[in-house]
């Protein structure tokens, strides 16, 4: 028979009506899924009893993707097709990814979001995340014995609308009903029951495998408000392993190491780091592929010395976040530790010293975010009574506004407004007889449009013609419980309104998602890339034709040998890449040809003008 779980009084569900809800921590390095069973939040394990699912997906032609440990193992020998840290690319275009060169992937710069070329076709970060979420969903459904009602998925507090939308899209692709997105530090605070605690300021110190985040939260009347966030996207527990690895190399002066040796030593570095959490001293022994044997002893004191700079690197963002929030360490009522790397005693003591208090660390730091998300999912799914005093509010992470004349941003919903929220403001026309208005929605704290992030742009047409400043246009912004935005605009005299479904201009559109759900997952993205490629080819072809006919007509007259051959060489380069698949390269070469023909074009223009003017008097021209 089916296995039953204990419900809250009066909340037993009818057979087959269980409200199975989970919390998912979709992490950069590892992901987890948790649920509340028998009144207790627990992380769900895989068949081998492992709680973590490495956020790694490997793609091979004509095969289902491999997710987790199995993918992680082959990462070193199949780097192009094994995607790690995909969270860094969610809702991002190539231009946003400053360190794109440090990843081994074949990026495809596509409109909307960067994509990755794999042996199983081009994948968007949304699809890769969906594959991770699908693995977690399957684990949860096996563990809970039924279909999930919904999930709460956590995102970093600093995620903008585009990144949140991308996360939601990934969940939908994975067949998950998103009950809501929850800020990671808020989830950690909920897991520690701080939402039931006294009001006050809390710091959440999150040192993961490869990222560091510090969030300063204020709890007032059950609402968590994110006062400030800071961090270092390239600092995590892995850097401690790396430091230890370098120390090992210095100590032992090895002969040349193979890739396997590197991996082996890095693993030993990690084991040693973990051992020092429990013991004052550890021994590192390993045999390299060359037969060379390593035997080293490492003490906690040595380890602390060699990693002291890394520890202090985390403290500067903490101070900056506090300064941004206008607070000092004394104002902080509690510090929550998140992320496996916070187990290191050197981190614990550095944080304790900085804040002058022992941080909260009795929950497993790898699981705390997922547990908090599960607790919230349990409430949202209706498994707790309404009179249970649970407040579930969150706030907007960044201000939302629209562009006004002069490239300025008028903020309509300030940051840290509790959501859901709807706010409206009236605007007017700028010119006499203006019958249309372009509405540009932006997110950010800066004053200039160019400094904020563009989320959407649409037009309100059919404004009755009247003098400037007479029309009244009401623009309403609405943010739902997931932190997602919709915008409407209405001209108040005639009632004409733009039927506006604002979508973040980054991330996948709703249509895209549903089409992708229908045709399998790959075609839509390929179409999108193909279209961009086609457009680039058409433009390249047009320019090549135009340049060729210009050369035929005037090339010999207007260009010297060097100039002529430069243009011809540039044309050849462009013509060569047109049949290829790299549309960014085609664009780049098209632009290059445009540049090298600029002087030629200017001379042709001058010549045509001179020819037209030849033999005519100024009077002829004026008449």
């Amino acid at each position: 028979m089916a296995l039953l779980q204990i419900s809250e009084p009066g909340l037993s569900t009818a057979p087959h009506q269980h409200r199975l809800a989970v919390g998912i921590d979709l992490g950069t390095t590892n992901s987890l899924v948790a649920t509340v069973r028998n009144g207790v939040a627990v992380v769900l394990h895989d068949e081998n009893g492992r709680a973590l699912l490495p956020s790694v997906v490997r793609y091979q032609p004509e095969q289902p993707p491999v997710v987790g440990y199995a993918a992680q193992q082959v990462q070193a020998h199949d780097p192009y097709n094994t995607v790690v840290s995909v969270k860094r690319f969610m809702g991002r275009v190539l231009h946003d990814i400053a360190d794109a060169g440090s990843f081994p992937y074949r990026f495809v710069d596509a409109p909307g979001m960067v994509q990755l070329r794999t042996a199983d076709g081009v994948k968007s970060p949304v699809e890769v995340s969906a594959d991770i979420l699908r693995a977690l969903r399957e684990r949860a459904e096996h563990s809970l014995g039924g279909e999930l009602t919904g999930a709460v998925i956590t995102v970093p507090a600093y995620f903008d609308d585009a990144q949140r939308q991308a996360t939601k899209d990934a969940a939908r692709l994975a067949g998950l009903e998103v009950l809501r997105l929850l800020n990671e530090p808020t989830a950690a605070a909920i897991a520690y029951g701080l939402d039931n605690a006294a009001e006050g300021i809390y710091a959440v110190y999150d040192l993961g495998g490869g990222t560091f985040d510090i969030s300063i939260l204020r709890l007032s009347q059950g609402v968590f408000e994110v006062l400030a966030t800071n961090g270092d996207s390239a600092l995590g527990g892995d850097d401690f392993d790396q430091r230890l690895f370098c120390w090992m190399l210095e100590q032992a002066r090895f002969p040349d190491l193979t890739a396997q040796d590197n991996r082996l030593l890095l693993n030993h570095a990690r084991f040693a780091k973990e051992a020092l959490t429990e013991h004052p001293e550890t021994r590192i022994t390993a045999v390299l592929s060359s037969g060379f044997t390593i035997d080293l002893t490492l003490t906690a004191v040595q380890f602390n010395e060699m990693t002291a700079t890394l520890v202090s690197k985390t403290l500067s963002p903490v101070r900056r976040a506090l300064r941004d929030a206008g607070l000092s360490t004394k104002d902080v009522q509690g510090v929550v530790m998140v992320g496996g790397a916070t187990r290191m005693p050197c981190i614990q003591s550095a944080v304790a010293t900085l804040f002058g208090q022992t941080p909260l660390n009795n929950l497993d730091p790898d699981k705390v975010v997922a547990l908090g998300a599960a607790m919230q999912a349990n409430v949202l799914a209706g498994n707790r009574r309404e009179d249970d005093d649970w407040l579930l509010l969150d706030v907007t992470p960044l201000s939302l506004g629209i562009e006004t004349m002069g490239g300025l941003v008028e903020k309509i919903i300030p940051r840290n407004t509790t959501i859901p929220v709807a706010r409206a403001q009236e605007f007017t026309t700028y010119k006499d007889g203006q019958t249309a208005m372009s509405i540009h929605v932006l997110q950010g704290e800066r004053e200039l449009v160019s400094d904020c992030r563009s989320l959407a742009r649409f037009e309100l047409r059919g404004i009755p013609s009247m003098v400037a400043g007479a029309a009244r246009i009401r623009v309403a912004l609405q943010v739902d419980a997931d932190g997602l935005l919709s915008v409407s605009a209405q001209e108040l005299q005639t009632g004409v309104s733009a039927a506006v479904t604002v979508r973040p201009s980054f991330g996948l559109h709703d249509d895209d998602v549903s089409r992708m759900l229908q045709d399998g997952f790959n075609h839509a993205k390929e179409d999108m890339t193909a279209r961009a490629l086609q457009e680039a080819r058409v433009e390249a072809g047009r320019l090549l034709d135009a340049t060729q006919s210009a050369l035929d007509e005037d090339g010999e007259r207007l260009l010297d040998m060097d100039e002529f051959s430069e243009i011809v060489a540039s044309m050849r380069e462009l013509a060569e890449c047109v049949p290829g698949m790299d549309y960014a390269l085609i664009q780049q070469m098209t632009e290059r040809l445009n540049q090298v023909t600029q002087t030629f074009a200017a001379r042709r223009m001058n010549m045509r003008v001179r020819e037209a003017l030849a033999g005519q008097s100024v009077n002829d021209l004026m008449s």
Partner: protein, 108 residues
């Protein structure tokens, strides 16, 4: 002799869950008329003993059953078990004649 028993494994889990929940006097078992085969079990935390409740104590766990439900549950054993990735409570009920495929509802 009417009785409901709790296995040691189930008792250990129940005590653990009540301790983590922070409050509660025990476990409430019952049946309701619903589900595809007529009856469905009820398994809830109990915050108070209600009038007409029968109380059983086994392995340190207090089990409350209302008088109407008792005839359907008499002689049953509450067990805690693991099936694959799933784990949870199981009603070993001698009164059941048929149950639906999933076993969540039954008749006597």
């Amino acid at each position: 002799m009417m009785a409901i028993t709790v296995t040691e494994a189930a008792a250990r889990r129940v005590s653990e869950f009540i301790a983590k929940r922070g409050h509660g006097v025990g476990l409430r078992l019952g049946v309701r008329t619903s589900g595809c085969s007529g009856m469905a079990y009820k398994l809830e935390f109990a915050d108070e003993i209600e009038e007409g409740d029968l109380t059983f104590v086994d392995h340190g766990v207090t089990v409350l059953v209302d008088a109407k439900s008792l005839p359907y549950l008499d002689g049953m054993e509450l067990d805690f078990t693991r099936e694959g990735l799933n784990e949870g409570f199981k009603f070993n009920n001698p009164n059941v004649k048929n149950s639906c495929g999933c076993g969540e509802s039954f008749n006597v």
